[in-house]
């Protein structure tokens, strides 16, 4: 479980390569938001979370909910590399009959617990899973990742109240704060600022980190575990398209797959 930072960084490079390859092969899908989430997902699946890929339905496992479901390629990359299913499936992303759907579907992909894709619904479901775990006195931790555009959905704030009201402290949310959505910069489309103050006002423990630094990701996840009586929100400052210079910070790469040319250029940079 306890991998060194160096090892995690190496894994994250491979995860990014897998994401880009599977998207390019699928010829559609969401590149930018998968790359911005890659380091956090790597930290969760290869260091922090208690889970067993050979036993995906293990009762005591920690649970991860990808509320921003369009980053499915990032989730599939870490699930595949962890061993939930054969990485041969990567080349079948988004294809007819594949277990890797455009957006995650419970019951279709091993390791996927929650169906997402319609934004704003993941936190509520994470709350429910966390409450069930508390009722059963389980030690599970529930993680949920949201996008910064996603938090424009009203349901997110309804769920934010629920988590604080019911003191759901076995829940840790992570906000992939990459500053971009589909139609442009979050600040131009519909500002969500000031994020830390909002979540604090809603009764959450808030930690801000650089979402691409493993030391910060891991220590924030550890700190969250120590907090009792309230849920934790880790606001992770990230870069959309992180790892591929010509994609970084570009709105354009939200919902398009890399072309063959772009893939080759990207792989050269990453390797």
């Amino acid at each position: 479980m306890s991998k060194s930072i160096k090892e995690l960084e190496r894994i994250a490079v491979q995860i990014r390569i897998d994401i880009l390859k599977m998207l390019s092969e699928a010829d559609s899908g969401h590149t930018g938001g998968s790359l911005s989430a890659a380091d956090i997902l790597t930290a969760l699946y290869f260091s922090k979370m208690r889970h067993d890929p050979n036993n995906p339905n293990w009762n005591e496992r920690d649970i991860f909910v990808l509320s921003k479901g369009h980053a499915a390629p990032a989730l599939y990359a870490v699930l595949g590399k962890s061993g939930y299913f054969s990485t041969d499936n990567f080349s079948r992303l988004r294809k007819l009959g594949s277990i890797l759907r455009g957006h995650p579907v419970r019951g279709i992909t091993p390791g996927v617990d929650v169906s997402t894709g319609s934004l704003g619904q993941g936190l509520s479901q994470a709350n429910g899973i966390a409450l069930a775990s508390k009722i059963d006195n389980k030690k599970k931790r529930i993680y949920v990742m949201l996008g910064d555009g996603e938090v424009q959905e009203g349901q997110v704030w309804e769920a934010a109240m629920t988590a604080a009201h019911y003191k759901i402290d076995n829940l840790c949310a992570i906000l992939d704060n990459n500053g971009l959505q589909i139609d442009g910069h979050v600040n131009d489309v519909m500002s969500v600022d000031p994020l830390p103050e909002k979540w604090k006002a809603f009764g959450w423990n808030v930690i801000e980190i650089d979402g691409h630094k493993f030391e910060e990701i891991l220590s924030s996840l550890d700190k969250a575990e120590e907090i009792t009586g309230k849920p934790t929100m880790i606001i992770a400052h990230t870069i959309k398209g992180k790892g591929v210079s010509f994609m970084e910070g570009k709105v354009k790469y939200h919902g398009v797959a890399p072309t063959q040319d772009e893939l080759e250029k990207a792989l050269k940079e990453l390797r």
């Binding site: 699928a26 009959g97 957006h103 424009q152 139609d183």
Partner: protein, 351 residues
């Protein structure tokens, strides 16, 4: 060469044009303006465009308020998020007070493709059709889209329009016209008539052509208004054909098929068959593969025609001459003016 045009492209362009003459038009989108094509209006009239962010429920409520303030709001996003996520807002804030809000949602149906089940919308017609005061329209090609958008701008009341990600072949011309609640009769068949809208209208036309080669007289009606349904035309087709098939890129539950079945059951219960998605969620795949997988091909329509014809008891003689060459009008407008954009694009593509 068949010219193909996206109904969402035509919508975006006409909206931007209408915005010039009609300053009351306000456009709202929920972070999908590039896909719904409202981006064109946003570029031209930034002061009358409101990006609401990823917040469809808030968008519908805001649109309702704009209508109360005497504006003509057009609210756009993907069909599933418009009709699914914000359904109760549409019901409570828009339909109950009968407000003048136009909801034009793109990516209807299953030809959304690879994004998968969460993004397919095979329930929108059902969800909108059930709401009192709501008008439900799915245009069949570029020309009809232009006529529809122009017509609903002048009409007062809630309207839902579905556009598609997929481009449709152009089948009409500049004078196709459009009247709310009036179906376009391509032909009423002596043996059977297929009633369809949107993408499946094109499959129905192909199916009818091939059936005719076998000596089966299959008619086609474009029921682009699903609500209010053109009851008169459907009953006429029922009387002449003695058997009907409906075809739609939608669940077989509560779409056009159900609406036609309701009318037949209460007035003239003849054999009918529904082509549609049989109570299942979609999965990822290419549009063409999905249409095959979920039974939405010309072949499926032909099979339904054969099935329904074998259900017919005895033969059915035509008692009236089928209506041909129906000319519909757009209220108060010269028809040539109403199809300028589509004609221009069609010409450009042809070159």
């Amino acid at each position: 060469m068949t010219i193909k045009l996206g109904t969402r492209e035509v919508y975006g362009n006409i909206l931007a044009e209408l915005g010039e003459e009609n300053k009351d038009i306000i456009v709202l989108d929920a972070d999908l303006s590039g896909s719904t094509r409202t981006s064109e209006f946003a570029r031209k009239f930034p002061d009358r465009f409101f990006n609401m962010g990823v917040a469809e429920q808030d968008m519908m409520g805001t649109a309702a308020g704009l209508a109360i303030g005497d504006k003509i709001p057009f609210a756009s996003t993907f069909a599933i998020f418009a009709t699914g996520r914000a359904w109760e807002q549409i019901r409570q804030s828009i339909c109950l007070p009968n407000l003048n809000v136009k909801i034009v949602a793109s990516h209807g149906g299953i030809t959304v493709g690879e994004d998968g089940g969460s993004h397919h919308c095979i329930e929108d017609i059902a969800l909108m059709r059930v709401l009192p005061n709501m008008t439900v329209i799915v245009p069949g090609d570029g020309y009809e889209t232009e006529a529809v958008v122009r017509t609903v701008t002048d009409y007062k009341g809630p309207v839902y329009i579905r556009t598609s990600r997929e481009k449709f072949p152009v089948i009409y011309s500049g004078d196709c016209g459009f009247e709310i609640g009036k179906a376009k009769i391509h032909h009423i068949g002596k043996d059977v008539t297929i009633i369809a809208y949107g993408l499946m209208l094109h499959k129905a036309l192909d199916a009818a052509k091939n059936l005719r080669k076998e000596g089966i007289d299959a008619g086609v009606i474009n029921s682009s208004t699903i609500k209010p349904l053109d009851k008169e035309t459907i009953l006429e087709a029922a009387r002449v054909s003695g058997a009907l098939v409906t075809a739609e890129e939608h669940s077989i539950i509560n779409g056009l098929g159900s609406a036609v079945a309701e009318i037949l059951a209460e007035n003239n219960p003849i054999p009918m068959k529904r082509v549609g998605i049989r109570d299942r969620f979609g999965m990822s795949g290419k549009s063409k593969e999905l249409l095959e997988h979920y039974g939405l091909t010309e072949r499926d329509i032909i099979k339904a025609v054969r099935d329904v014809m074998s259900m017919k008891k005895g033969s059915c003689q035509s008692r009236i001459t089928p209506i041909t060459n129906q000319k519909l009008s757009i209220k108060g407008r010269k028809l040539q003016d109403s199809s300028r954009f589509t004609a221009e694009i069609a010409e450009k593509i042809q070159k």
